[in-house]
Structures are given as C-alpha cells and as structure tokens.
C-alpha cells in the first residue's frame, strides 16, 4: 500500500478507514478498549446522548483524546433541528465536524435527503466540516457537493439491520461520479461486507450496530479494521477482471490466425 494513501476530510488526515459509533453499547467503558485494540481514529457520537452536567454519564469522557469526534444530529427530524443540534455540538466543545442525520421516518429510519441537503448548505457556510448521511442518490450527492459537504455517507442498508450492501450498485455510481470521499454508513453487518465496500473504492466504512451487538465488541472492531484495510489494499492493488467462462485452453477461433 502506498505510504501516502491517506484519507483527507476537512483537511485532516485519517489513517484508519473504519469509523464506529457509541450507541447501543452495554457500557460506555468499552469505548476506550475498542479504540486501544483497533486503532480507530473517528468515532461518531449522538449529541442527544451527551450529558455535560454529569461527569459519570457524559459519553464524551469515554472517548480518548486522540480520536476525532464526529458528533451527529441523531434525533433531528428536519434541517432546522439538525442545524440547531450542530450548533449546540460546536458550542459544547465537540469541534466543527458534524454528521448530518435527518430522519423523519421512525419505521425504517431512512434519511430525509431533501432536508439533509438544506442542513448541509447552511452548516458548510458556517464553517462546519459536514458529513451527510443519505440514501444513495446521484443527484442528491451532486447537490451535497455543491452545498459544500466534506464527504458523502450513503447507507448500505437501513440503520441497525446488519443486512450489508443492499444498495451496492447505487453506491458504486456515487464512487464513480462523486469526487468527495464516499463513506458507507449503516447496514453493514459483517467485516466481509465492509471489505467489499472498500474493494469497490469506498473511502471508509462506518458501522456501529455490528460492533455494539457483537458478542465481543472489541474483537469485532478489530475484525472490521482489518477487513477495511484489506479491502482498501485490494482496491489499490486493482482487482483482476471477472469472467463468465473459464479461459478456453483450446481456442475455438485459433484457426483464423
């Protein structure tokens, strides 16, 4: 792998291309262990769960200082709420990276792309490094580029489903057409699926449920990191072409030479 293969978001180099979250864990105390054993560099945290007034309950206290904090707007139902949560996050000292989550569908938890574009436009102008979570859609991704997004985070499958890369073809189009980092977020349930996304050329993968609900979350986080790294190496190495039939040992058209 080339030494200069770094993911750059908002001017910051990210070495480990597997991102994870803080939700659904049985205890926040496991987060430092995950970071220690996997070298994860980016962790998303729902501002809705941040409790600054209680040192014991404040999830931020469990995130090691070297980790890049990616606060998210989980709970926002529209652009206005997402913007307010983002501003609160910055005022709270969570930095200027923000993952926009606008979900107005509590049945499937699908993102509202339209409101997400609106929130991205407002926050990018305010100097945030905006990483919007969206359903994969080329026109929306183009609008996000125009709006000033720092990356695009399409879902592989609905949040929490662990169903993998159900939106593979649409993500492939985003990877081909959008010049921003494409970070596959949501739905990834297995390290092999994360590797597949990386082999396609995704810039990074974020998975939370798959780690948090594993029997051994620390080991699972390591497995994801290794799979993501392997997928990235495969992408850089250039995958060999696939064939529908085996190479014929006795060509049928050889007589034409």
């Amino acid at each position: 792998m080339p030494n200069n293969d770094k993911l750059i978001i908002g001017g910051q180099e990210i070495g480990n291309r597997f991102f994870t979250g803080t939700g659904k864990h049985a205890s926040n105390a496991i987060i430092p262990q995950i970071v220690e054993h996997s070298g994860i560099e980016v962790i998303t945290v729902a501002l809705r769960r941040v409790d600054l007034s209680s040192p014991q309950e404040n999830i931020l206290n469990y995130i090691p200082k070297q980790v890049k904090l990616l606060p998210n707007t989980s709970g926002a139902r529209n652009a206005q709420e997402a913007v307010r949560i983002a501003r609160l996050a910055r005022a709270t000292g969570c930095g200027n990276w923000i993952k926009i989550e606008v979900i107005s569908d509590n049945k499937y938890l699908l993102p509202d792309n339209y409101e997400t574009v609106k929130a991205t436009e407002i926050l990018a102008k305010e100097g945030f490094v905006v990483l919007p979570y969206v359903s994969p859609d080329l026109m929306v991704a183009k609008a996000l580029v125009d709006a000033g997004a720092a990356a695009v985070m399409p879902l592989g499958a609905p949040i929490g489903t662990n169903k993998g890369l159900q939106t593979k073809e649409l993500i492939r189009i985003l990877i081909d057409e959008i010049k921003l980092p494409i970070i596959v977020d949501a739905g990834i349930g297995r390290p092999s699926e994360a590797a597949e996304a990386m082999e396609m050329g995704a810039a990074a993968v974020l998975a939370n449920t798959a780690v948090a609900t594993a029997k051994d979350p620390v080991l699972m986080a390591r497995a994801f990191c290794q799979a993501v790294e392997a997928g990235r190496k495969a992408y850089l190495a250039g995958l060999g072409p696939t064939r529908d039939v085996a190479d014929a040992s006795s060509p049928l058209t050889g007589f034409l030479d």
């Binding site: 205890s27 769960r49 307010r84 049945k107 489903t161 609900t213």
Partner: protein, 378 residues
C-alpha cells in the same frame, strides 16, 4: 379517517374463531417472517401462542438489541396535581373518592425538580388529574417553564387536549405525550366512565393523533390491562400504535403495558392479567413493531421488571412516587397518590441492576433544542 374507523372495523373480527383456528405451524411460520401484519400480531396474542413464549422471547430480545442495543432509557413521573373532574370507577383520583386534593405551586414544582434532578434523571413525565379547571394548559406550560431548567426532555400525561393546545405545550418545550385509552372496548369504556369529560370516548381515542399532528416527538399509547379481555385490548393497542406509526412517520410511537393496581376506590379488575399474559403482550408487540418503544412502569414488581428487561422493554421508570409533591415532601404528601407502586427502588438501585444485567442506563436521550441560539438563520 381516524383510528376510530379502524377500531370500528377491527371490533367486528371474530376473535374467538380466529384464535381457535390457530395452529402451531401458524405460529412457527410467523416466527420466521421478517415483517408481521396485524393478523400475525393477533395470532401471537392467541392462547395457543402462549406455548411459544420462549422462541418469541428469543426473537424479541434479538430484535430489541438490534434496534436499541443494550440500553434502557430511565425516566420518572412527577405528579403536579390530583384534582379530577371524572368519575372513573378504577382510579384513586376519581372525583367520587375522598382523597387529599393538592396542586403544586411553581415554587413547589421547582423543589420537586431539584429533588429529581439530584438523582441524575434528565427525562421527566409530568402528570395531573383530569381537571382542566384546576390544571389548565397555562398552568402546565408554566410548570414546563420551571422544569426546563432541570430536565432535557419533558413529557406529559394529562387530560386529552386539542391539537392547538398540544402545539402550545410543544412550543414551550414539551416533547412527549403519553395518553392511555384505558379501555378500547367502547361499551366498557362508557360503563367505566359514567360521568365527566372523559366519557367522550372518541375525543380520547383521537388524542394521540392530535399529539402527532402537534409535532410531539414521542407519543405513547396503552390500555389499562385488567379492565377488559386483555388479548383484545392488546390487539387494539397494537393496531393503534401501528396506525400512528404509519401515518406520522416523524413521531416516535411507543406503548405502555400498565396493569391495574390497588386504588382508593377499591375497584377490582374484571380480568386477571397474569405475568405470563403480560409477557405474551410485550413479546407479541415487539415482534409486530420492532422499532417501537415499550415502557414498563413501577406498577410491576422489581423481580418481574428485572426479567422484562431482556424481553423487549426500552424504557423504565425509576425512583417513582405517585404522590403529588412526593419527591420533595414525602411526609406531607401522603394520601395523594394515584395508585400503589410495586417497585420502590431508587434511581441508583435501578442503575446498578441494569449494569449488572449488561445494560447501559440512559439518563439522557434527547435535548430540548428550542429557544434562541446565537447566529441562527434557518
């Protein structure tokens, strides 16, 4: 179109015939389905499904962990007043009962808030008796104004309001609504509510929908279990929650499963809802609506609540008193409670119990984001 139309249709189902026709294979087939419909839900509430509680529990647990993780939201109720204009036969607050009537002043509300906030809880559910004269919307709004200084999320459980009134409360910082139909069976409803504004079945039935229209973030429905055939009541409750979830996608819909408790009026429940029945309801509901919240209050005893954690429950009350002013002035407030609770554990005890089961007690899961913020220009 309102849920009333769906209820009108559903009440004509031949429940007994459906349940008698259920086979073991029907249940096994449902347990392999990815998405359940209302008929599946009805089947899981059948007497035959009671033999399948363990496989239902295994699936309910998996679904709950998948969607909510190993977490449990904690909240506590705060009773603002117990004045009531209704004659409900099963409730201590009924105007028929001799009860020490009380309503907190704003200063007392603040004392209550301080006492609860000291336990670390950030989510609060405020309740009143159903007396618009004693506890008008303006009073509730004033109380919310005080409580906002101490809590990140404020829900209400009060008499049914109009959409505009709910919107007024949303505007001042209320984000959740809990309102129980008590009993969905319309005839029984009339019987149990002989006098008072609560007698209006339809106005109460449509209240959760008005809360959704007013942009409440969370809306919680429920039947008071024991007032009628629990299988039918649980079915109607699930249908109601499903109706709301499908129509108001931006509102988080949940249910509560309160069983009737001893009360001042001495009302005896018509139906015995056993622990096994309660578990079957919770499991069937979780399988029917995998992403919906399920709340269990301190009406249930500690040991049972401990076991219910892994069966689909996502919200639990802790450090509970049903007395008006009960958090800050325990002695003087005695005799003003709505019902006897069964789990007297404090917040720390509940927290430790959750941790011992491998669950994270969540004190804060939302933050009211209204009010002015510098530089805002959305």
């Amino acid at each position: 179109m309102s849920f009333y139309d769906i209820y009108q249709e559903a009440k004509n189902i031949d429940f007994e015939q459906h349940w008698q026709s259920v086979t073991d294979n029907d249940i096994l087939r449902i347990l392999t389905k990815e998405r359940l419909d209302a008929a599946d839900y009805l089947t899981l509430l059948s007497p035959r499904a009671a033999d399948f509680l363990e496989p239902m529990a295994q699936r309910a647990h998996r679904l709950t962990v998948q969607h909510f993780g190993h977490t449990m939201l904690l909240y506590t109720p705060m009773y603002l007043a117990n004045h009531c204009a209704n004659h409900c036969l099963y409730c201590s607050f009924s105007a028929l009962n001799k009860l020490k009537r009380k309503k907190l002043s704003l200063a007392q509300v603040e004392e209550e808030a301080k006492a609860i906030a000291a336990t670390g809880l950030k989510h609060i559910l405020i309740l009143t008796g159903e007396s618009p004269a004693h506890s008008p919307v303006s009073y509730i709004a004033d109380c919310v104004g005080v409580l906002k200084k101490y809590f990140d999320s404020i829900s209400i459980e009060v008499y049914p309001l109009s959409t505009e009134e709910y919107a007024q409360l949303v505007a001042v910082g209320v984000d959740g609504l809990t309102i129980y139909q008590e009993v969905y069976d319309e005839e029984m409803y009339k019987h149990l509510h002989p006098r008072g504004p609560k007698r209006d079945y339809r106005y109460r039935l449509d209240a959760p929908e008005r809360g959704c229209k007013a942009k409440m973030r969370t809306v919680n429905v429920g039947a008071l279990l024991g007032l009628e055939d629990w299988r039918k009541e649980a079915f109607f409750t699930g249908l109601h929650a499903d109706y709301l979830q499908n129509k108001y996608l931006d509102t988080e819909i949940g249910i509560s499963v309160p069983r009737i408790r001893p009360n001042v009026g001495g009302f005896s429940p018509k139906v015995d809802v056993t622990d096994r029945h309660l578990v079957q309801i919770i499991l069937a509901y979780r399988l029917f609506m995998p992403r919906a919240g399920i709340a269990v209050s301190t009406r249930e005893r500690a040991e049972l609540r401990n076991h219910l954690i892994k069966l689909g429950v996502t919200k639990m009350s802790a450090g509970v008193t049903t007395e008006v002013g009960g958090h800050s002035e325990k002695d003087s407030a005695e005799g003003t409670g709505q019902f006897e609770i069964s789990d007297n554990r404090g917040v720390d005890e509940i927290k430790q119990m959750l941790l011992s089961q491998g669950y994270q007690p969540v004190f804060k899961d939302w933050q009211c984001i209204d009010g002015e913020m510098p530089g805002e220009s959305v």
